[in-house]
């Protein structure tokens, strides 16, 4: 009897499991997507004559709430579904999109003429109401992650259904930059007011060239072309964004033709992707600059400008870029890199490396036998951050600076960063989503630097506060150029290199990386 029950039990378990497997695998294949034939590894081939573009990134989009994320890779997907009022082209020049023309009425008022005859994916007409709804939401709701970048907007006034005025609290020279980035996609006010946010987040609609077909979280997001798009007809029938967190898997998908573009290829795999038949690599600069922040607090060794200069001269930034990043970066002495308003090209693409002079400076500073200091860095936060810091440590040792290196996991690093308890030096990378010089100096004013670098220069403070509200572009540019010279000379920050983004690309398409790392599907074409 008991044997029979045992046998029966096992049989039931087996039967149940196979039934379950059957059920779940059936439910997993959606009717809209014909499953690939067994063994096929090439979903991006033009099945049934359809033009499909498949892009693999390291993570899925956060959500469709365009105001409540802070994530470049999410925005890179959103730009295909939602349109900005103005858009940056591949050269980062502002171009009309939903706004056709604009002017400044006075220092705090901008008037925009809106495009007529534009419809959202659900058929609603695009009007001034939508702009007011979108921008005032992010400018007033302080729970939203993008609030800090839009709180400068006081009001959006509707002049007529296709004309608006944006009123800011203070003069806002960077308003167009704000409106052409993360958080500025125009939302359908009527749809959201009638159906609610929950429905919008499930079935988002925008005015963009592609509309949502399906989203399987952490797996794939499929867009299809919007035939009613007001601009040039969309080039692809379908655009698939796949989320593949594991680097080795993402590379393997590219090598086997499973995807057309893979982002964030590790430097160690670049050669393999390049040598593989059918794939190539593309590198492009990003807005991220790796830097050292130095402490000028009285009593620290780095208080002495000669010591700071010696540190700068001791580090061979080009060697770091060439050897650790496989050439994936550009040495720089400024954080305002090309493509940003106010860049000082004299300080870009070059580096000061002179170990002999560094030794001499140390001697002059009263440290002929070298000195000791502490340096903190992240491990695993940025590409090759640990290796970079270790190589720097060795370079500093060559001139007699004994840097005690401390590695911290990002959240621990962040705790110390916020508490401002780092010692002489910490290494960090900053981006600049505003594409404007102003953001590059935000931690260098006397007020913001207090406790962190303790740097203070009244001339710089004045320059920055003047430039922050200066509506005269030419003057403003000069002010930022000067500010960069001051920083390069006084070195509260020592900039190391601008980081590149590494892409793997199938030979069947042409793709040029953008400085803002956006992935506009229509800028990517079949060869």
């Amino acid at each position: 009897m008991k044997k029979r029950i045992a046998g029966l039990g096992l049989a039931v378990i087996l039967a149940l499991s196979s039934a379950l497997v059957g059920c779940s695998s059936q439910s997993s294949s959606t009717p809209s997507q014909p499953s690939a034939p067994a063994g096929s590894t090439n979903p991006s081939a033009e099945n049934n004559g359809e033009k499909v573009l498949t892009i693999a990134s390291g993570n899925d989009i956060v959500s469709f709430d365009i105001h409540d994320h802070n994530n470049t890779s999410t925005e890179a997907v959103h730009v295909n579904m939602f349109d900005y009022l103005v858009r940056k082209d591949a050269q980062q020049k502002v171009q009309p999109l939903l706004a056709t023309e604009w002017e400044t009425v006075d220092d705090t008022t901008w008037r925009f003429k809106l495009r007529e005859g534009v419809t959202f994916h659900n058929g609603d007409e695009f009007t001034a109401e939508d702009v007011k709804f979108t921008l005032e939401r992010v400018a007033t709701d302080n729970k939203l992650l993008e609030y800090g970048n839009y709180k400068q907007i006081k009001e959006v006034k509707i002049i007529d259904p296709h004309t608006i005025e944006i009123i800011t609290f203070e003069p806002e020279p960077v308003l167009l930059n704000r409106l052409s980035r993360l958080g500025s996609g125009i939302l359908p006010s009527k749809y959201i007011k009638e159906q609610g946010w929950e429905e919008f987040l499930k079935n988002p609609v925008g005015t963009g060239p592609y509309k949502l077909k399906e989203w399987k979280r952490d797996d794939r997001l499929v867009l299809e072309k919007n035939d009613a798009y007001f601009g040039e007809k969309p080039k692809w029938d379908k655009v698939v964004f796949r989320s593949i967190p594991e680097d080795a898997t993402r590379v393997a998908e590219l090598l086997t033709g499973g995807v057309d573009i893979a982002v964030n290829i590790p430097p160690s795999d670049l050669k393999r992707v390049k040598d593989n038949n059918g794939t190539d690599t593309k590198q492009g600069p990003t807005q991220r600059v790796m830097q050292l922040t130095l402490r000028l607090t009285p009593g620290t060794v780095t208080e002495n400008p000669k010591v700071r200069e010696a540190i700068d001269l001791a580090i061979d930034k080009k060697a770091i870029v060439d050897n650790i990043l496989s050439g994936g970066g550009v040495p720089t002495r400024t954080r305002v890199t090309p493509g940003n308003f106010g860049t000082n090209l004299d300080l870009y693409g070059n580096t000061l490396y002179d170990p002999e002079k560094a030794k001499q400076l140390l001697a002059e500073a009263g440290y002929p036998n070298g000195l000791e200091l502490n340096m903190s860095a992240t491990s695993g936060r940025y590409l090759k951050d640990k290796e970079t810091a270790e190589l720097m440590q060795a370079m500093l040792a060559e001139v007699g600076i004994n840097a005690k290196l401390e590695f911290l996991e990002w959240s621990k690093f962040n705790d110390r960063y916020k508490a401002k308890t780092f010692n002489e030096i910490f290494m960090i990378a900053y981006g600049n989503s505003m594409f404007d010089g102003s953001l590059a100096f935000d931690r260098l004013t006397t007020e913001r630097a207090k406790g962190e670098s303790d740097y203070s220069n009244p001339e710089l403070d004045k320059l920055l506060s003047d430039a922050g509200q200066n509506m005269n572009a030419e003057e403003r540019e000069k002010q930022y150029k000067r500010a960069q010279e001051i920083i390069a000379e006084e070195r509260p920050h020592i900039y190391l290199f601008q980081m590149n983004a590494n892409y793997g690309v199938s030979d069947r398409i042409s793709f040029e990386p953008r400085l803002d790392e956006m992935l506009f599907a229509d800028e990517i074409t079949l060869k």
Binding site: S18, V21, L145, L201, A248, G258, S433
Partner: protein
């Protein structure tokens, strides 16, 4: 039986409560979610506003009790990252994880039963040594390494199987193999030792002395009895399986709960982590209970109290 079930379910409550406390404290100790949510260039003012808006400025015990009272009402909180209730997000991922786990379990069963029986009946033969050696290897290979090797071999070099994703049943083969290997190794060894023990029992000797043919002895007399511990061990593998899905799902970008947990931990998405750990804890406790019941059903000598 009914009384036993009632008791078992009641016992789950303090366990789940304790788990909620541990998870809550651990998640809070590992870092602050706000700094990960905002960009590097956010000001301290922006940070303070968001902390207050999320209620993270309140003392830890206040936050815990708020969390607990919501929990009792079935509310696991709102995911910071997805801005949606956490529990449905976790439950949405269960089918994918079940699919992978069951496939891995099936694979492990199909491999381990014949190998376990063979190596027990042919004890100390070349085959036995080979199977034992292979199962040690199978247990020792870390899934992240095995998974990547399988991709390189079957997908990149041979172009026979897809690399990643969850589309058709062929996409299931490599992840199920990766996840199932360790379990197959464990079960092979278990079936072997269970069989060896039973083959040494008196009633087997009696059966042999009666002149029964060997295959009848092995399959009808010995194997069925050796299954009792095996069936329960299978149910107890739930925690191993779920632990394995964390890695396997990430490698093969399989959109299940394991991948969700990894992402949630990386992003300090407390609500998701808490809800997921809760679901996992529930599954483990539930399957242990199931194993317990199965064991008692299979072997009536065990009493319920």
């Amino acid at each position: 039986m009914r009384q036993y079930l009632f008791k078992a379910i009641l016992q789950m409550i303090p366990v789940l409560f304790l788990i909620s406390l541990i998870v809550f404290v651990l998640v809070y100790m590992t870092g602050d979610p706000v700094s990960l949510m905002l960009s590097d260039t956010a000001t301290d003012e922006d940070r303070a506003i968001l902390i207050a808006a999320l209620g993270l400025d309140q003392p830890l015990h206040v936050q815990y009790f708020r969390y607990l009272s919501n929990l009792v009402q079935g509310d696991f909180g709102t995911s910071f990252r997805y801005n949606m209730p956490a529990l449905p997000i976790v439950l949405e991922r269960l089918p994918a994880t079940f699919e992978l786990a069951i496939a891995a379990m099936l694979f492990a069963t199909v491999i381990s039963i014949p190998l376990g029986i063979l190596s027990a009946t042919k004890r100390n033969s070349f085959l036995d040594i080979f199977v034992s050696g292979t199962s040690v290897l199978g247990k020792a290979m870390p899934p992240f390494w095995l998974g990547i090797m399988l991709i390189l071999l079957f997908s990149v070099a041979l172009k026979a199987l897809p690399v990643s994703g969850r589309e058709s049943w062929v996409h299931l083969i490599l992840p199920a193999f990766t996840l199932g290997t360790g379990i197959a190794a464990e079960m092979t060894r278990l079936i072997r030792s269970s069989m060896l023990e039973i083959l040494g029992q008196d009633y087997i000797r009696t059966a042999r002395s009666k002149g029964l043919i060997e295959s009848l002895i092995v399959y009808k007399h010995a194997f069925r009895n050796s299954l009792i511990p095996v069936v329960t061990i299978m149910a107890l593998q739930t925690s191993t399986l779920i632990g394995g899905t964390l890695i396997t799902e990430t490698i093969f970008s399989w959109p299940g709960m394991g991948q969700l947990i990894i992402q949630a931990v990386n992003n300090r998405d407390m609500a998701i982590v808490q809800a997921a750990v809760f679901v996992v804890a529930f599954l483990v406790i539930f399957s242990n209970m199931l194993a317990d019941i199965l064991y008692r059903v299979l072997d009536p000598r065990i009493k319920y109290n």
